[in-house]
Symmetry: none
Subunit: 211 residues, 4 copies
């Protein structure tokens, strides 16, 4: 429906991933049966097995596609100097990445359990920890490390928690990003004398143009 059989030729693999992404995101991996996926695509279960070796294979292939932008961001981050500017840029890019990756993150959250026994290094958790390692300074006081981490996680959870708030999505994203950058600045206030030198300047800069 909506696409003729002819139009489907050659894109079945992609269509399987799309439908699976959607269903795994809605119901979770375990609850979603291959029958369900096949029916929605109007193909047989066996057709799925022409394109993927196992059900888990579908999961993995989706995950890898979704994780690629994140991996690229991590690679970029690792190649940069560990300055505040780098961190800010990481957070900004991450925020943008999140914007149109919401479905995947729904998918991830729903399927943590299913993916936790994949090969190490293959999970979202690994990526998140790698990311937070770029944002946090192991020498800094614990509170500042927490702020570094939080800059990252706030972007996830806030986006989620504000879903039901009726405000312009872009407004929301910017507000969240501002808070994240704020946390980052606070986390680095002490080690950046140039920024914190104003005698009574609060360790929270007013970030007038945070974006």
């Amino acid at each position: 429906m909506g696409s003729t059989p002819q139009a489907r030729r050659g894109d079945t693999r992609q269509r399987i991933q799309d439908v699976a992404l959607e269903l795994f995101g809605e119901q979770g991996y375990e609850k979603t049966s291959l029958r369900e996926i096949a029916e929605r695509l109007e193909v047989t279960k066996a057709a799925l097995y022409y394109h993927f070796k196992t059900k888990e294979d579908i999961l993995i292939s989706i995950f890898q596609d979704l994780a690629r932008p994140l991996d690229e961001l991590l690679d970029w981050g690792r190649g940069q100097p560990r300055t505040l500017e780098t961190k800010q840029e990481l957070v900004r890019r991450y925020s943008l990445a999140l914007e149109n990756a919401l479905p995947l993150f729904r998918f991830m959250q729903q399927n943590q359990a299913a993916m936790s026994h994949l090969r190490p290094g293959e999970t979202l958790k690994d990526r998140m920890l790698a990311m937070s390692d770029l944002l946090r300074d192991p020498e800094a006081p614990l509170t500042d490390q927490v702020r570094g981490l939080s800059a990252l996680f706030v972007m996830h959870t806030a986006q989620f928690a504000m879903q039901h708030l009726e405000a312009d999505p872009e407004e929301k994203r910017k507000a969240i990003l501002e808070v994240a950058l704020d946390l980052l600045a606070q986390a680095n206030a002490r080690e950046k004398p140039g920024a914190s030198e104003a005698p009574d300047a609060p360790n929270i800069p007013d970030t007038p143009d945070a974006r």
Copy 2:
């Protein structure tokens, strides 16, 4: 082994919940079979049905037990004036609650999907949103609302993200709490002129006894 058959008398219901909590937390609700639970308890599957009507019943019963402290905290919060102090106290108590509720929160996170179709008002998400409504001021600028929410969520995610950091757990908890209270203070800086206007009063109180 570890508990004699005699010792088991009469506490089977509790033992089922304990084992289920553990397995649901590790593998997720869908992936955990009643056979597995029964085997670990060295009883038959049929025995589980003496104590619970369905598998979902086990899930619900666990959830309700775990949610009770949170519900009490919410009730308390709703009865208090909507002041910064109340919010701070909410966050402090929540932090303490989290401390020994980690297994359950693992359980919740793993099983969001499984519980999302329970009766509305029965989910963790509902509780979290209720909680964040107590911490956020709908009149305030978006950024400050984000800070309010974040005070709450930071406690979850940071605790999780710092799991692999080898530092005293209590130290970690305090550092996280401090950041959470910080966010709360910043969120309320503008609407609490009395607190933030003092020229040298940092908007981050030093919370010397934050605990």
Copy 3:
């Protein structure tokens, strides 16, 4: 049909084995589906899984039951002196065992492939080789070793090859046994000088009551 549900209580496991033995023997293990077995028993497939963990488990359990008499014979043989008399007795007992074990040997022959990857020591082949080691003298000339082995195998193959001969089964068995004992005697003729050197002493003892 033929047995009421009540009468079946408690003997399902045995009935599964019986039917499986029959079908595995007729069609082979791979070709026989659990559905087929279940249908013939008028139970569901799931019922089979209450009694056996896997399909292979059914195969193994049948095999072990069938192999027991053979194992006992082997044990007996190992405890006896390695004399001609012992060997003759082994062959005689083996012949008797074969008599009412024909269905199982059909089963074995049909399912060699299916059982060849069982745990070593678990196969019929292992038993046969152990048996032939009791009948063969590694010091003897090759031809005599062949005769020793053949005494054993002749009993299998001849019984099979004469199936379509219309003669009294007991007559056939005795004829086959006689040939087997013959081979045995010939195999041991040289190493039993006392028995074979007497000018007119036949190297085939008169075993008057061979049965």
Copy 4:
């Protein structure tokens, strides 16, 4: 590897048979899937269907190739007088045939079940019975008939049973052949007085009362 794509031109049919022979011999017909065969040949399953109409067709084609030498031997035997000499020659030729036909006999043994429902006259069993009819004299006493049959079957089973014996294969074959010829001679002792009455009577006495 081992054969370049060029070298493969035009011999695909043969290569399919070779691989199938090997896999059917190792795992049995039912357990071997067309996918497995195709993968090993690095072609697609569909390619198999260009060369053979069905899976069973592959089985049959292999069988027919393998059975041809046997059929020729049978034809030759049927054209000869039913003398001891003929029988001896049959056995000698059969022994030689077996020598480099071991893989096929493995194949046959593994796949008796699979082939038992082929058109009658198409099975190995049929050939074996035809062969044994040439070696056995229906008028002779049962014991002698058994000896006739055994001359044939001994060659199969002994070869198999001596696989793990570390001796020169040719030595083994000769020893087995000798025993087979021996059995044949004994089987025909009575009806061929000229052959057995010679003064230097063989070590096979006429076993007058063996029963």
